[in-house]
């Protein structure tokens, strides 16, 4: 096989039509779809290397079994785009749709999941409540009937859900941008954004100044800092989210298993590693250091679900930064306060799965100046109008 370069290094031009800050899935996907719409004089600026942020640190769960009709419709679009993505980008992003199970261990949990199943079905998303017998059939190794402090009572079963090779998605989008004529600049950090008379005019970087009338903030955990560069306060608090991976084991677990009661979720990659995680750390912070408390908690809870794993070993733990909004839904669009400043942020613990949909719709917005209908519920102004899209129940432990 002739090896082909994925992306090239370019000189930084002194003018771009659109400057996208952040080389994660959101920045790159938006750039890719922009090139498809014929907007090619664009640059993605990444302070470190592409995938340095959440897009290289996430646990790659993709699903659309959300709670609100707005959320469900949006994430469903993303799942459908992901299904086509390997063909579209000509790169195997290894989307394995082996199903996603959210467990309920108490009555309140069952109620919450039932409500989601009902709403999902109403929106045409494949999702239903199943009970212990069937759960055990789908996940033979799960402790469904054995001794347990909080026995499993039911699960929300979402067959199209699964995991994806997150790095592959990032690289393939970057290649798409490159082939489409856009520039991907790594090791290029934005240090300031110039605004004159309420209009974005330029960005400053460690490699020089770039004139541009349009900037997209796609920096996830750093979104608040970038917004502040134009004097905009957004309702985002950055919290670390941690995850860990075990040594590879012969695959025995196909579905993604999530338990909010036990604050843990787990999946097994095609390499055989178990990937586990929990909720965000309590306290706001920009620290990328993991904690021992996370590992201990995750181990305790995972062993409740899979007692046979006691002698399986953790290989490494890590943390990423999550840009949390009050309603656990993203902020996409512009702002009336600063013309030319757009954002796709607030992706919190759940934004990887949304890359294709948000990229696709944001590109449409940037190219046409008109907000696509499906983006409307996620405007920044919803916080002023008190019109939130409440996804906390569906997104705090399942990402």
């Amino acid at each position: 096989m002739v090896s082909q370069r994925m992306w090239r290094e370019h000189e930084l031009k002194d003018q771009y039509d659109v400057v996208i800050i952040g080389g994660g899935v959101h920045g790159l996907a938006t750039a890719y779809y922009l090139t498809k719409l014929g907007v090619k004089n664009i640059a993605v600026l990444e302070a470190k290397y592409i995938g340095f942020g959440g897009s290289g640190r996430n646990t790659a769960i993709v699903r659309s079994n959300y709670r609100t009709p707005e959320g469900i419709a949006f994430y469903d679009l993303s799942v459908k785009l992901y299904e086509q993505l390997a063909a579209d980008l000509d790169f195997n992003v290894m989307f394995s749709q082996h199903g996603h199970l959210t467990l309920a261990h108490n009555e309140r949990g069952v109620t919450g999941l039932t409500e989601r199943a009902n709403t999902n079905q109403l929106m045409g998303v494949n999702s239903r409540i199943i009970f212990p017998q069937e759960i055990q059939q789908i996940v033979p190794d799960l402790n469904v009937f054995g001794h347990s402090r909080f026995p499993i009572q039911a699960a929300l079963y979402h067959p199209p859900g699964g995991i994806i090779r997150h790095d592959a998605v990032v690289w393939a989008y970057a290649r798409g941008v490159d082939r489409g004529g856009g520039h991907v600049h790594q090791k290029t950090e934005v240090t300031a954004i110039e605004v004159q008379n309420g209009q974005v005019e330029a960005v400053d970087t460690n490699r020089g100044r770039i004139k541009t009338k349009m900037v997209l903030n796609a920096t996830a955990g750093y979104a608040g800092l970038i917004s502040r560069m134009v004097g905009l306060e957004i309702p985002i608090e950055t919290h670390p989210l941690q995850a860990a991976v075990t040594e590879p084991l012969k695959p025995f677990l196909n579905s993604v298993i999530v338990s909010s009661t036990l604050h843990v979720y787990v999946s097994q990659t095609d390499r055989g590693e178990l990937v586990l995680g929990a909720e965000v750390d309590d306290h706001a912070s920009y620290s990328l250091r993991g904690t021992l408390a996370f590992l201990e908690g995750a181990a305790i809870h995972l062993l409740e679900l899979f007692p046979h794993l006691a002698n399986v070993k953790i290989l490494r733990q890590w943390a990423g930064l999550c840009d949390m909004t009050p309603d656990y839904s993203p902020i996409m669009g512009g702002t009336p306060d600063v013309k030319g400043f757009y954002m796709t942020v607030g992706w919190g613990t759940y934004g990887f799965k949304a890359g294709p949909a948000s990229g696709y719709l944001m590109a449409e917005l940037l190219a046409s100046g008109k907000t696509p209908k499906r983006l409307e519920p996620f405007a920044l102004t919803r916080f002023y109008d008190d019109c939130l899209v409440g996804e906390k129940a569906a997104a705090s432990v399942s990402h």
Partner: protein, 950 residues
């Protein structure tokens, strides 16, 4: 690691047998499994991850992936640090049918079809192919197998320790550091991962000064030094919080100062077939010789660039092995070995043999001319990788220093130090001196006013000439890698990543060391880069035309060594917290069906919901509400604090009165509800719901922390009080029998709060009624809970009182339209929409939490509302059924029940505000059918509240 190894130096050998892949193998006590296999001539112990190539012992120190086996059911165990035990069952992994003969070796021949990252470029066209391929991949992926016969039943424990100075590593530097610090008068904890102290001197006896044993015994007997052996520091977390694994035990150690004297390990050379069994690190050969008492039959070729190679050669020769040749990378080495053929300025180009080394090809560094040497072992001593991951983890800054060919600390993290080989000081004398220096420095830092003093950059400590570690003179271009274009030159043994793979990946654009890692998977396997990171970086640097320093390193992440989940979990899995109320035993004796409410166990029902309902509505009932959160607030500024926390008013709450309150967050969202009783001018007693007891406690403390000038003292008394609700038309008569206090309506009206004696016990009694009847919430010291509970039931016997559970309570409150936070409300519910507009006092002068949001919400009007409804049909739908408007989602049901008072099914639901007037009809989806329901403004029971206030 090394959990069961003991220092065997004095033990008399005892032999016993264990099993390896069904065969019996003899072992001497004190031997590792790997050592015993070596002695038994079993040299293929595993198969590689991707190509299923045979692999044998390489590092003998638990760092490489080559000897990973399943031991007594535990997958992925490194048998080189696992003591052999009688009857042990060891199985090889990742091979079919067997490790000796593995059919999947075919992948090795097919390597051309599987270049780096091939799986990203194949198998996805057409779309349905990927799931098919994935099934195949999942069949061959992974290493060890999950052992289903093992549960979380091992004996694990956890220990918490504190120390002034933690010294990590019991080699020469660590021993000296520990002594120096302890002699300076501070307490020291010395942690070492080997069964005995001494570091690499244990298996390199020539280096060990005669005083080593004396040094060790001084350390071991020093009263201020605590030695923890066979224990691995796997993580160095924020503020010098160390995670340590010692067998099945996890130790959490808080240290004021940390000294990393973690040493280094040998790194392998990258040449063709460098993964063949028989290719070994010199330190591994020495370990096998000296610690496992093994022999090396056949001839050995040694490739080296340092003194260690010569020592290993001498020791091997002394043990009866013939040294075929020493291949020295250097042109003018200071060392020599009499009677041994040497090739100077040469290196190894490839090893030959299909299942074991049969010979090696060597050549000058330029690559030719080549010549072949036949041998059975290739022992390599070509330099070291410092064990610096704990330094990185703790935030030290390191920079690659060419003169020592390793990364050196340029800035230490606060209260952290490093000493010895990890600082580039490999010579014993220098390492010892550096250890003493670090020990003193740590002790001094402790005594200095600012404890966070840390080591100066290690560079500064390196005035002492460095040698022994690596070549002093010129650095040849990347001699980690043999000069040849061969394909099978393995860099990463865990993942079968070759030099060519790395170069190809860089050519494809993955030139950043982090992207390179993720794409090629180099260093992502079980060894986490211990064996390969140095070479990978060197190759990456060379191929990018950068320096090693510019190339950087990938982030070091805990754990330093793979860590079992069982050790991390400890016993918590087996003893999950269960909270029981003081009346728990009584409930169980009286047949209550118990249910979980968070960690609590609570009675759901004793007899039947109908019977319990009737008792409360017609006579009297008693429910255990001890699980409520209870908080006492005292101080001059409590009123100010309450006014700030709650949207409603408390300034006008009189002593002896109780008021209902809802707590909102900044966005005006309901967090919790409860009651606030004023027991004295500056003394308040608050309750929270069961589920939010901890959250509200932290919420209060969070806001108080920012207001230190306020005189508010918070005591969480949740566990100190038992609580019960006595409710029903006869409850006053019941209670009267147990107290002298005046319970009359005038003396103790609705919403009175008083402290009186009940059944001889001091109690806080609140006249409130969640279930809508004349009622008393009684809080008594927990130890008297059951006494008061029984006394009330006894007193109520003549009225036919009954205990009631949560299920009856839920129905009773539903008839009163009382919502439960978290059940009927969610993360978007504010009190205006949750039918409690009266509770929000926007006219309060001062700010309160959520004020701005609630004002805005009031201004724009409600979009959704929480309403009560009655169903038009006699069915009880599932909770969470949807309310539909024109086929679209309009809302959802949050509570449902069959109400005797209403004579039908009633419930609470969130619906669009436009449909929320009394008498409006809404449609609920039940089993795919739409059923009408009517919105109901008033409570279904006692709408005027007469009974409640009677």
């Amino acid at each position: 690691m090394n959990e069961q190894l003991s220092d065997d130096s004095q033990a008399t050998p005892v032999t016993y047998e264990f099993e390896f892949d069904g065969q019996r193998v003899r072992a001497e006590s004190g031997q590792t499994v790997a050592g015993a296999l070596h002695s038994a001539g079993e040299h293929i112990v595993s198969r590689s991850f991707k190509y299923h190539r045979p692999r044998g012992l390489l590092c003998m120190s638990g760092r490489c992936p080559n000897c990973i086996c399943t031991v007594d059911g535990t997958p992925n165990v490194r048998i080189c640090t696992q003591a052999a035990k009688p009857g042990m069952v060891v199985k090889s992994q990742n091979a079919w049918p067997s490790v000796k003969f593995d059919l999947l070796r075919i992948f090795d021949k097919l390597h051309r079809l599987m270049p780096v990252g091939f799986y990203y470029k194949r198998m996805y066209k057409p779309r349905w192919m990927w799931p098919v391929w994935e099934k195949v991949i999942r069949r061959i992926a992974g290493l060890g197998k999950l052992d289903r016969s093992h549960g979380a039943d091992g004996v694990y424990d956890k220990q918490n320790l504190f120390t002034d100075v933690a010294v990590i590593g019991g080699g020469l530097a660590g021993l000296h550091a520990a002594l120096a610090a302890a002699d300076a008068g501070v307490s020291v904890t010395l942690i070492d991962d080997q069964p005995a102290l001494g570091g690499h001197l244990r298996h390199d006896p020539e280096l060990a000064e005669s005083r080593l044993n004396e040094l060790i015994s001084r350390v071991a007997s020093h009263p201020a030094i605590n030695v923890i052996s066979s224990a691995t520091v796997f993580g160095c977390y924020d503020e010098n919080y160390l995670g340590i694994q010692q067998g099945q035990r996890m130790i959490r150690l808080r240290a004021a100062q940390v000294i990393a004297a973690t040493g280094c390990w040998e790194r392998p050379l990258v040449f063709e077939n460098n993964d063949l069994p028989g290719v070994m690190l010199a330190s591994a050969a020495q370990r096998l010789l000296h610690l496992d008492k093994c022999r090396f039959p056949g001839e050995v070729v040694i490739v080296t660039d340092n003194a260690q190679g010569y020592r290993a050669a001498k020791q091997l020769r002394a043990a009866g092995t013939r040294i075929a040749a020493i291949v020295d990378v250097r042109d003018n080495p200071p060392e020599s070995l009499e009677g041994v053929r040497r090739f100077l300025g040469h290196t190894v180009i490839s090893a030959s043999g299909s299942r074991h080394v049969g010979g090696v090809v060597i050549a000058p560094l330029a690559g030719h001319p080549k010549q072949t040497l036949s041998c059975r072992w290739l022992v390599q001593a070509v330099g070291f990788t410092p064990a610096n991951s704990l330094l990185y983890q703790n935030g030290c800054k390191l920079r690659y220093d060419e003169s020592v060919d390793q990364a050196i600390v340029i800035q230490h993290a606060p209260a952290m130090h490093s000493a010895g080989a990890v600082n580039g000081l490999h010579d014993p004398g220098n390492a010892a001196a550096d250890g003493q220096r670090a020990g003193k420095a740590a002790a001094e830092a402790l005594c200095s006013p600012c404890h966070r003093v840390s080591d100066p950059p290690a560079e500064n400590n390196l005035e002492i000439p460095r040698h022994g570690g690596h070549k002093e003179e010129e650095s040849p271009p990347c001699h980690y890698v043999a000069p040849s274009g061969a394909k099978k030159k393995f860099v990463c043994l865990c993942e079968d990543v070759t030099e060519k793979d790395i170069c190809d990946a860089i050519d494809e654009g993955y030139s950043n060391i982090e992207t390179l890692k993720r794409y090629s998977t180099v260093s992502m396997g079980p060894c986490q880069g211990k064996m390969c990171q140095a070479a990978a970086i060197a190759i990456c640097a060379r191929h990018n035309g950068q320096s090693i320093a510019e190339t950087g390193v990938t982030t070091a992440r805990p754990p330093e060594q793979p860590l079992p989940l069982g050790v991390l979990a400890g016993r918590a899995v087996h003893f999950s917290l269960v909270r029981r109320t003081p009346m728990h035993a009584w409930h169980e004796q009286h047949g209550a069906k118990m249910g979980d409410a968070g960690n609590w166990k609570r009675p759901q029902v004793y007899t039947s919901v109908t019977q319990e309902y009737e008792a409360v509505r017609q006579r009297a009932g008693l429910i255990d509400v001890s699980t409520l959160g209870k908080i006492e607030l005292r101080g001059r500024d409590v009123v100010k604090f309450l006014e700030f926390i709650y949207p409603n008013r408390f300034a006008n709450l009189k002593v002896g009165r109780v008021r209902y309150g809802v707590i909102c967050d900044d966005a005006g969202i309901i967090l919790d509800d409860g009651t606030i009783a004023r027991l004295g001018e500056d003394r308040f007693f608050l309750t929270t719901t069961t589920g939010n007891a901890d959250a509200i406690d932290s919420w209060f403390r969070w806001w108080l922390a920012a207001r230190p000038q306020w005189d508010v003292r918070l005591t969480n008394v949740s566990g100190s009080y038992a609580a019960m609700n006595l409710a029903g038309p006869r409850s006053r008569e019941v209670l009267k029998k147990l107290t002298d206090a005046d319970l009359s309506r005038d003396a103790m009206p609705y919403l009175a709060a008083s402290e009186i004696q009940i059944a001889g016990v001091p109690a806080i009694v609140l006249r409130i009624g969640f279930v809508g009847e004349l009622g008393y919430e009684i809080h008594v010291p927990a130890q008297f809970g059951q006494h008061v509970w029984e006394a009330i039931l006894e007193a109520g016997r003549e009225f036919n009182i009954a205990p009631f559970g949560l299920e009856a309570q839920r129905l009773l409150r539903l008839e009163k339209k009382h919502f439960l936070p978290g059940v009927d409300t969610d993360a978007l519910s504010n009190p205006l929409e949750a039918d409690l507009p009266w509770i929000v006092k926007l006219d309060k002068e001062d700010d309160f939490i959520g004020k701005r949001s609630l004002a805005r919400s009031l201004q724009r009007g409600s979009r959704n509302k929480l309403v009560a409804f009655q169903l038009n049909e006699p069915i009880v739908p599932d909770l969470a059924s949807l309310v539909l408007t024109n086929g679209k989602l309009g809302g959802r049901i949050t509570s449902i029940g069959q109400s005797p008072a209403a004579g039908g099914t009633i419930g609470l639901a969130w619906i669009p505000a436009s449909l929320s007037r009394n008498g409006d009809t809404i449609q609920i989806q039940i089993n795919g059918r739409l059923v009408d329901a009517v919105v109901h403004d008033e409570p279904f029971y006692d709408p005027s509240g007469e009974k409640l206030k009677s």
